[in-house]
């Protein structure tokens, strides 16, 4: 077979694979991106997969996706239960392709914290305010109902994941869901 034909088939195969298999899933990878990330589809287009954000992160919160993350291979994501973002924005400052953009802390929307009331100690009647006191948007993103039970204010929550990191329940009763 002619070499050019082989090359055309190879490229055609990749195009077919990508158009058929990947593009539908593009906008919902379910990964929590570093702060200041552009929307998921544009992020996957513009992220260079160079890893500078992960290397510069002082919290060591940013991980780099391996092959099991599929199309997000090489892209940065955060697992707040392991290490949470403190919104320092160092990653956005080093990003060469503006897939991460420096954003005011208040405007960061990495995800949204959700409290599982069946697992939350405070909701079960114990004394615990750890998420409430650790939240960087103190008394705004997580507020206390009746001075006891935490509730998330979705207009303020940046999705940084510090609440998930500090939650003393195991598994965490508050988790951050990606994709807002």
């Amino acid at each position: 077979m002619e070499r050019g034909v082989k090359a055309a088939l190879f490229i055609g195969g990749i195009v077919a694979l990508a158009l058929g298999g990947f593009s539908g899933r593009k906008a919902k990878s379910g990964l929590i991106r570093p702060p200041g990330a552009v929307d998921e589809a544009l992020f996957l287009s513009t992220c260079l997969r160079c890893g500078q954000c992960a290397q510069v992160c002082p919290q060591k919160a940013i991980r780099i996706g391996y092959g099991d993350k599929g199309i997000s291979l090489g892209t940065p994501y955060i697992e707040p239960r392991q290490a949470a973002c403190n919104l320092c924005m160092d990653c956005a400052r080093v990003c060469p392709s503006r897939a991460l953009r420096e954003t005011a802390k208040e405007n960061v929307r990495m995800g949204l914290a959700e409290i599982n009331q069946d697992a939350c100690l405070a909701w079960q009647g114990d004394e615990c305010k750890i998420c409430y006191t650790s939240c960087p948007f103190f008394n705004r993103a997580i507020q206390l109902e009746d001075h006891k039970r935490p509730v998330v204010n979705r207009n303020v929550c940046a999705g940084c994941g510090i609440c998930e990191y500090v939650c003393i329940a195991s598994p965490a009763a508050v988790t951050v869901k990606a994709g807002r």
Binding site: I14, A41, L44, S45, T46, C50, P96, S97, R98
Partner: protein
């Protein structure tokens, strides 16, 4: 350490040997120097792990900050610009130093830096497959066009996504995921199929550097008066370049690694700085093709 000292002693003796070719003789140890550069460059990528906030290095070979200068692989920058349908000026500027380096010095990224090439060469030093002919192999250049088109169609930086150079870089910096199998497979090709099959037959990063270095200043030249047609340079060349040939593909595939210079028993091969005439055409008196 001892090897380094030996090297210094050898270089000293040889340059003192003084039969009027000290410059060329110093290049005898080019291969060792290149290995030092390659391994230092690969080791540098681990630096942010054990020395946070170091002023020297941040990033991987896709994009990095070296001594404060932002550097981005030209192909990755191009793909991201095409896929994102937006021009990010800082990103394009960061590709400029590497583009200029390629335009003047040639594919030095391939020959002196690329970790995948380093892995191939180290594997090849254990078991060397015979050279396969390269003649007329334009496939990487076709693939370069194909990947760029695919990036535009899908809106994803397709090659950057699957690049084994990126995968190996990230493996060095962040540890291995299962995608490292791809790199292992390519290194296995080196052992059981052909030398640098990936570089010669596929790599679009190298193809772009090849295009950029088409009219470079620093080239390998062959002194035909000294050449005995022994073929040692051709056998040494991992890229299968016909040394000294002015052919387009030979010029574009040469990575200026200098293995041929060290291999030549007659000291007939050397780096040559091509001067340009006022009209813009290159003077090429050192290039006299000899067919093999």
């Amino acid at each position: 350490m001892r090897r380094l000292r030996d090297l210094r002693v050898r270089m000293y003796c040889q340059s003192g040997g003084g039969n009027g070719e000290s410059g060329a003789v110093g290049l005898r140890n080019l291969r060792l120097w290149r290995r030092v550069v390659q391994l230092t460059a690969a080791g540098l990528m681990t630096a942010p792990g054990w020395w946070p906030d170091n002023p020297v290095w941040l990033g991987t070979y896709i994009s990095s900050r070296f001594c404060g200068i932002a550097l981005t692989d030209p192909l990755a920058a191009l793909e991201v610009a095409i896929a994102g349908k937006a021009v990010v000026w800082p990103l394009l500027w960061s590709a400029v130093p590497l583009i200029l380096a390629a335009a003047v010095l040639g594919r030095i990224f391939c020959g002196w830096i690329c970790p995948l090439n380093t892995a191939f060469e180290i594997a090849g030093s254990f078991r060397r497959k015979p050279q396969r002919a390269l003649a007329g192999n334009w496939q990487p250049y076709w693939l370069l066009g194909g990947f760029l088109t695919a990036s535009a169609l899908i809106g994803l930086p397709v090659f950057t996504l699957i690049s084994p150079i990126g995968i190996l870089s990230r493996t060095i910096a962040f540890g291995a995921g299962f995608e490292a199998v791809f790199v292992v497979f390519l290194v296995c090709l080196e052992l059981w199929y052909s030398r640098k099959a990936w570089c010669k037959k596929v790599c679009p990063v190298g193809a772009l550097y090849g295009l950029l270095s088409r009219f470079r200043r620093c080239r390998i030249s062959l002194d035909t008066a000294r050449c005995t047609r022994c073929g040692a340079c051709y056998a040494a060349c991992g890229m299968g370049v016909d040394i000294g040939s002015p052919g387009k593909l030979a010029v574009m595939n040469c990575s200026n690694c200098g293995d041929c210079i060290a291999a030549c028993p007659e000291h007939a091969v050397s780096y040559q700085w091509i001067k340009r005439r006022k009209g813009g055409a290159a003077k090429h008196e050192p290039f006299e093709s000899h067919s093999r």
